[in-house]
């Protein structure tokens, strides 16, 4: 007993090295800011970008390796997690690289931005690389608390303050929901591990247990807030509009990818009681797509419209995720990952272009403020058009490829309703995306009075990367092999991911208690005892 209680876990540092690199880079950035407070931020920017590039380089060799856990099962490395971490690090890199000139124009070039963005990135990385609910929660809080501060970075501006306060209050509320759900899970299973949770759910009484339904509902509400699904989306437009544009770019990509990664794991673990949450999530998903797009139609502010657009895109990702959960043979997590990657490039690119509208302490992000951008900054305007076309999902772009794959998955998995809703919504969304494209080309007299910041190297770099990122050719190989390599079912087969052999994790084994053996392939009806 004594020796078992004080076991020192064996630690494979290579698994957490990218995470550590990002955290330490943040610390170095803060130290630079402490000792050179009156200097410019160039050193911090360089260190931060180098750190993120280093983390990216460390993640790449992990792609091919088998699923393992370390830190006593607290950290999980699988292909799903590594791919999402790559997207997160790339997203953070792209949103940091155009930040400095923008923040100088806004007069908010606080050196603390970089360390906090890096720590938020580390939280996001933690969220997608664990199947323990507590670790997911810690990652979520590290991400969220940093983002609350970043949203209020322009602390002299009322809209930024409003964004920070709203984000903080609603985010804290959502965290409380999530934590309460985790407490229920712990109460049911005696563990915060999702693998144990899944085994418990598969056992009787399963869905007939009110506590289980309570726990899952609370978890769904918590993640619904974080991923901005429709009844829980209210914070998104205000926060996206009020936060500085570089923070919005960071938030829309990094935080969404991380939340979807954790959400996918939680839903995967809840599969034994699928008949409880699947209908609810189908309704939520349709609502998310529809409300997001319809509300975006009437916006007058581009940032706000893109905020609603990100809600709609959360709905599209949900379609892919539900298709996979409904039928892992037809749907694929590869589709989810691919779409998240494409979305990251599209959204960060769009916000990067919008950052040009900040000149001399003021910023205008209404449609009128983009008038004549084509004449002032042809590269940025051209890229914006490309991103909008990709966000609509017009054929030659990656946005089309991702949406088409989601559509196919949903049809294959027997969710035609979601597929049709997705298609209709794509048509609806074309209207406001094309509004933005139109604004870029308006060449009236008024357009002459609109100013925009001069182009800079960082922004140019971010735009080129994002523009390359929406080229479909990049994702075709991932998608074609996605079904073979990235599905969780493959990992389940190897016994490494969620469904570990039941016998290896005895759940509070009490004397005389009969532990049922579950075969993962058994039909749900026999497992849940319905």
């Amino acid at each position: 007993m004594q020796s078992e209680l004080y076991t020192i876990p064996s630690i494979d540092w290579s698994l957490v090295m990218p995470f550590i690199v990002v955290v330490i880079t943040g610390v170095i950035g803060l130290l630079i800011e402490m000792f050179r407070p009156k200097q410019n931020n160039n050193a911090i920017v360089l260190v931060s970008l180098a750190g993120l590039a280093g983390a990216f380089a460390l993640l790449i060799p992990q792609l091919g390796v088998t699923t393992t856990t370390t830190f006593a099962g607290m950290v999980l490395r699988d292909q799903f997690g590594v791919l999402l971490q790559l997207i997160i690090v790339a997203g953070a890199f792209l949103s940091l690289i155009f930040s400095e000139p923008y923040m100088k124009q806004r007069r908010i070039a606080h050196g603390e931005f970089y360390p906090m963005a890096l720590w938020a990135t580390s939280g996001a990385m933690l969220m997608v690389s664990s199947d323990n609910l507590l670790m997911i929660f810690v990652g979520l809080e590290v991400l969220s608390i940093a983002l609350y501060c970043l949203a209020g970075l322009a602390r002299d501006e009322q809209r930024s303050e409003e964004a920070a306060l709203k984000y903080f209050l609603l985010g804290a509320f959502a965290s409380a929901f999530l934590l309460y759900g985790i407490a229920f899970v712990y109460g049911i299973t005696g563990s915060t591990s999702l693998a144990v949770f899944m085994e418990t759910l598969a056992r009787a009484p399963g869905i007939n247990d009110l506590t289980v339904l309570f726990a899952i509902t609370l978890l769904l509400v918590g993640f619904g807030f974080k991923t901005a699904l429709v009844p829980f989306h209210q914070w998104t437009p205000d926060v996206y509009q009020g936060a500085p544009t570089n923070v919005t770019a960071f938030m829309s990509a990094v935080s969404k990818v991380a939340a979807f990664g954790a959400f996918a794991r939680v839903l995967e673990a809840s599969l034994p009681v699928q008949e409880f949450w699947m209908p609810a999530l189908i309704v939520i998903t349709i609502l998310t797509m529809t409300v997001g797009n319809l509300a975006a139609l009437v916006q007058k502010d581009v940032k706000r419209a893109l905020g609603y657009s990100s809600i709609a895109h959360a709905g599209y990702v949900m379609v892919a995720l539900l298709a996979y959960l409904q039928d892992p043979a037809k749907g694929s997590l590869g589709t989810v990952i691919t779409y998240l990657a494409i979305y990251t490039f599209m959204t960060i690119g769009s916000f990067a272009v919008l950052s040009l509208t900040a000149v001399n302490k003021s910023e205008g992000t209404r449609y009128q403020d983009l008038y004549g951008l084509w004449n002032r900054a042809p590269l940025a305007a051209g890229c914006l058009v490309l991103f909008m076309v990709s966000l609509v999902g017009v054929p030659p772009t990656a946005g089309f490829l991702g949406k088409f794959q989601i559509f196919q998955d949903a049809m294959g998995a027997g969710l035609p309703l979601l597929a049709i809703a997705l298609a209709i919504n794509s048509f609806v969304s074309a209207y406001y995306y094309l509004q933005i494209v139109r604004a870029v080309f308006v060449d009236e007299e008024g357009a002459l009075r609109v100013q925009s910041a001069p182009m800079n190297a960082g922004l140019r770099f971010a735009l080129v990367i994002c523009a390359v990122g929406v080229m479909p050719i990049l994702f075709a190989p991932i998608l074609s092999q996605g079904k073979q390599t990235v599905t969780l079912s493959k990992m389940i087969e190897s016994g490494a991911f969620l469904q570990r052999p039941v016998a290896s994790v005895p759940l509070n084994p009490e004397p005389g208690e009969k532990v049922e053996q579950i075969t993962p392939s058994a039909p749900l009806s026999t497992v849940t005892g319905n």
Binding site: Y6, V27, M34, K38, R107, H110, D209, N360, K361, P454
Partner: protein, 154 residues
């Protein structure tokens, strides 16, 4: 229904009782408001000034910093409880982990002191070196663009 059933029932019942009490007194109670009755009670003295005064933000800063110390003690306390009866190798291992934690904590504390967050009379503001760039034009409010543009820091 299992062990958690009673908790749900407790939550439902307490919610119900609170609702009944609040709504009941609001519906049933007589409402005869006089100006004197509706004025706030301040120990019998005639009230003066507004209730929602502005507090210096530094109060909240100190409160937040207090949380930093508070959580540190929570960690220390639970760690020490385990520490005293653990074998040596475990003590060393967790001790090192605690050292890492404290390194971060001290860094945060040091940062707070360094930027003068605890100096009550000094307002920390962004150094002009951070944004003045010879390539940028100087800020001139009269050139602000369309009238509806958000004027920051007016």
């Amino acid at each position: 229904m299992n062990d958690f059933g009673p908790i749900l029932i407790l939550m439902a019942v307490s919610g119900l009782i609170c609702t009944v009490m609040v709504v009941g007194s609001w519906v049933l109670g007589p409402k005869k408001l006089t100006p004197y009755k509706s004025s706030p009670y301040e120990c019998g003295v005639a009230p003066s000034g507004e209730a929602n005064e502005r507090f210096p933000i530094k109060f909240y800063l100190v409160a937040i910093l207090f949380v930093l110390f508070d959580i540190e003690v929570v960690f220390l306390w639970s760690w020490l409880t385990v520490f005293q009866s653990a074998p040596l190798d475990y003590q060393i291992f967790t001790g090192l982990a605690m050292l890492v934690y404290f390194a971060f904590w001290i860094l945060g504390d040091w940062y707070v002191l360094k930027i003068g967050a605890l100096d009550w009379d000094e307002a920390a503001s962004l150094a002009p070196e951070k944004y003045i760039d010879s390539s940028l034009p100087a800020f001139d409010p009269s050139t602000s663009l369309t009238p509806e543009r958000v004027a920051v820091n007016s």
